[in-house]
């Protein structure tokens, strides 16, 4: 059965810290891995990763995929209180149109 596992489930850090969120997956015919940020209702798209070893970067956020070890990490440097959110990892297979979500990591940034 396809699955996506995120860790940790929750994380509390101080403003300015650097955090690493983990996502491991098992899926048939992997196509892409997606990261989202969810603050209130709608998840906001962050990154889509399809190739191993190529870092995607947007400001203080970056992500990389390892297709051999079947995982991805999302890094946030110099965290700010506005980074507090649930971060969702999702995986799409080429054999199915749907994406499978992990349970999310709830990140809280303390001032």
């Amino acid at each position: 059965e396809d699955k996506v596992v995120q860790s940790p489930l929750s994380l509390v850090v101080h403003e300015g810290d650097t955090v690493t969120l983990n996502c491991s997956y098992e899926v048939t015919n992997f196509r892409s891995l997606l990261w989202y940020k969810q603050e209130k209702k709608a998840p906001t798209f962050l990154f889509m990763l399809t190739s191993s070893g190529i870092e995607k970067k947007s400001g203080r956020l970056s992500s990389i995929l390892d297709k051999k070890e079947l995982f991805s990490i999302l890094n946030i440097t110099a965290t700010q209180t506005g980074d507090s959110a649930v971060y969702l990892c999702a995986v799409k297979s080429s054999s199915a149109s749907k994406i499978i979500f992990g349970s999310g990591t709830r990140l809280s940034i303390r001032p």
Partner: protein
């Protein structure tokens, strides 16, 4: 990326009634999906909304409870029928841009059933 709107943004409904949620996209999209997110949970796919044909439902979801329409490539509706308190959730419309693998979400509808 596609701009997605949903109506209503929130509603409080009585047990036994039905609510229809609308999803409008500003461009033609290949695929549209409906998700549910119950309190404290991750997203669960309800169904894929197919243009011009019946939706494809995931295990645990049935057409009688969650009828879906998709009359064209930019619009879809989800109805939550005969509601119970267990249907209290955020309902999210999601689309895949034509030719791309990225998937985007609408702003969501927060439903409370009393």
């Amino acid at each position: 990326s596609a701009v997605i709107s949903q109506k209503p943004s929130r509603d409080i409904c009585q047990r036994g009634t039905s609510l229809t949620i609308q999803c409008q996209v500003d461009s033609q999209v290949t695929m549209m999906f409906w998700y549910r997110q119950q309190p404290g949970q991750s997203l669960t796919l309800i169904a894929t909304a197919n243009q011009g044909s019946e939706a494809t439902y995931e295990s645990g979801f049935v057409i009688d409870k969650f009828p879906i329409s998709r009359p064209n490539l930019t619009f879809s509706t989800l109805t939550v029928s005969n509601m119970s308190p267990e249907d209290s959730s955020i309902y999210l419309c999601s689309v895949v841009d034509r030719g791309y693998y990225e998937q985007y979400f609408g702003p969501g509808t927060r439903l409370t059933v009393t």
